[in-house]
Symmetry: C2
Subunit: 97 residues, 2 copies
Amino acid sequence: MILSELLKSKRETKNLLLREVASMIDTDTALISKIEKGDRKPTREQIDKLAIALDIEHSKLLKLWLSEKVYEDVKGEDVAIDAIKIALKRIKTEEKN
Amino acid sequence: MILSELLKSKRETKNLLLREVASMIDTDTALISKIEKGDRKPTREQIDKLAIALDIEHSKLLKLWLSEKVYEDVKGEDVAIDAIKIALKRIKTEEKN
DNA sequence: TAGTTCTTGTCAAATATTGTCTAAATCTAA
DNA sequence: TTAGATTTAGACAATATTTGACAAGAACTA
């Protein structure tokens, strides 16, 4: 499940209108629409607010958001998998200290 | 081995001066110095040129460069590992198609 | 068809990144 | 030590990227 899909399905489950979510996020409907369509990435602050507005576990949303940044960095590269693995190892070894 | 370290050690192995590398990369010594100290990230074009100038396998350099972008995205996040893993899965499943 | 919701395109403002210059710091050899 | 060379640090303009906002169009609903 991709971030944009999650946001849209959650909003629909809760029967909220774009304008209602928009006001909770302090922006306009156009931006929310774009976020739900994957045309724009939410900022981190928006992620925080969206978690509250849509009642989604914050860390779940954050994970998805971060993973999409990672994905964008490497997609289309033929060394994508190796690059991600290198980063993963680095994170893991750092956590041990 | 981190990108900046690799670049510096390779240059030293080859007994090149910053200004020599700089001219091959079409920039000035200050920038190369910063790259070697990790203060600046090379652009992708610079990675390509550095691979040639320093005689480093291009894909190796590219992997390191990409991995550091990934690392920067998630470092310090307590969901960092999960986020990377999600991205990794996504890349893997997409490659199958 | 009118009213509402959603989508799209555009563009300026805000941010972030990059390149270059200058001068200071560090190193090296005589 | 000092002169000359190399490397580093700081500042700042140029560029690029991201973001927010507006307006108009499209799609949906009653």
